[in-house]
């Protein structure tokens, strides 16, 4: 969280809305533990990370949707044979994120 404070400050000073995505659970292998945070501005600028780069693209999409809808959501990314082409961690783990507008 601490590593994204400066970017959030800048975006908010420029009047841009911000969404936060936070890792809340990791099962199996995953590079970043619970508490890893990524901030996304309403125009898609990114600070911080929540994995080794595997799911960040999909998290930006989720974050922008959350900003548009104005309500938070939980989302889970994982790997299974059924969804070999879906977004997931190449290391085989599953991560759950809480994605929310920074309106608190």
């Amino acid at each position: 969280m601490k590593d994204v404070l400066d970017d959030i400050e800048r975006w908010r000073n420029e009047g841009r809305r911000v969404a936060l995505a936070t890792v809340i659970d990791v099962r199996g292998s995953g590079p970043r533990g619970p508490g890893a945070t990524m901030a996304v501005s309403e125009d898609g600028e990114v600070a911080g990370s929540v994995s080794g780069g595997c799911v960040e693209g999909a998290v930006v999409t989720e974050a922008l949707e959350v900003l548009a809808a104005g309500s938070p959501r939980m989302c889970t990314f994982g790997y299974s044979d059924d969804e070999a082409f879906a977004v997931g961690l190449t290391c085989g783990g599953t991560i759950s994120l809480f994605v929310e507008p920074l309106n608190w």
């Binding site: 936070t22 533990g33 619970p34 938070p72 959501r73 783990g93 929310e100 608190w104």
Partner: protein
């Protein structure tokens, strides 16, 4: 609430943020409670009973620096799972105290900063212990290492590290004796095998027991063939990480099996 959280983080003040991340109710997703040291709180998770129980659990998390998902009933009942709360404790950064203002200390200070430590360099010699020589250190202290350590002894805990790089027995022995009296998680001391032998004899003369001596990593660092100050800093930090994660046997990942990632620590 965000502004209060931000200011606590900037001041390195411990704080816990609890968020409802899953709930059976139609509303309340994303509700937050911020709990500060001492127990004052801001916000609400939706029910005073839930706030009370989570507030109490949050303070427990704060002490241990943990991050966890917890389940409660809608009014904070234990053993139910209608509400899932993500409890994130933000602890102040761990400290690394480097004793001895040598070239190795400057490289170690830089790497430790990168790893998120608050770094203090201490040496009794004012000509060497200067902020100019250690631009990455948060604090450069001119004092006898053992006297400085006893001054900060109560602050040191399992996440902190003391690295003794002076390799001069008259500084090292009292500093190590003082470090051993603290709860610090890692104590390492630099020096050749010969220096280490000699220092161990002096430490035993100073009343240090075999069990206590086993707490001191000497010669400091992992055996990766490091020579330069920067390489040595990598060797020392790698040893500290392996101690903190409880990785007793250090081997190349390519020669092992089993899980790679540890999630036991707060990130």
């Amino acid at each position: 609430m965000y502004e209060v959280l931000r200011d606590c983080l900037r001041r390195n003040e411990p704080v816990v943020l609890a968020t409802v991340v899953d709930t059976a109710a139609a509303t309340g997703l994303g509700a937050k409670l911020l709990v500060r040291r001492g127990g004052q709180s801001i916000g609400s998770l939706g029910h005073p009973g839930l706030d009370g129980v989570v507030g109490r659990d949050a303070l427990g998390n704060l002490a241990s620096g943990q991050i966890s998902l917890r389940h409660y009933g809608p009014e904070g009942e234990i053993g139910q799972d209608a509400v899932t709360v993500f409890v994130e404790s933000f602890s102040p950064p761990p400290q690394m105290i480097i004793l001895g203002a040598v070239d190795f200390s400057a490289a170690l200070a830089s790497l430790a900063k990168m790893l998120g430590y608050r770094v203090v360099v201490c040496d009794a010699r004012a000509v060497f212990a200067t902020a100019q020589r250690f631009p990455d250190a948060d604090e450069v202290v001119v004092d006898w290492p053992d006297r400085y350590l006893s001054r900060v002894a109560a602050e040191l805990g399992a996440r902190d590290a003391v690295c003794v790089l002076t390799h001069d027995t008259k500084f090292d022995v009292p500093a190590i004796v003082t470090a051993l009296a603290t709860e610090v998680g890692y104590i390492g001391a630099m020096g050749s095998r010969q220096t280490t032998e000699r220092r161990n004899v002096r430490l035993r003369e100073a009343g240090v027991t075999g069990d206590q001596l086993a707490r001191v990593r000497a010669p400091i660092g992992l055996h990766i063939g490091a020579r330069s100050p920067e390489e040595t800093a990598v060797s020392i930090c790698a040893e500290i990480i392996s101690c903190q994660t409880g990785t007793d046997v250090v081997i190349p990942l390519s020669e092992g099996s089993g899980p790679i990632h540890h999630h036991g620590r707060a990130s």
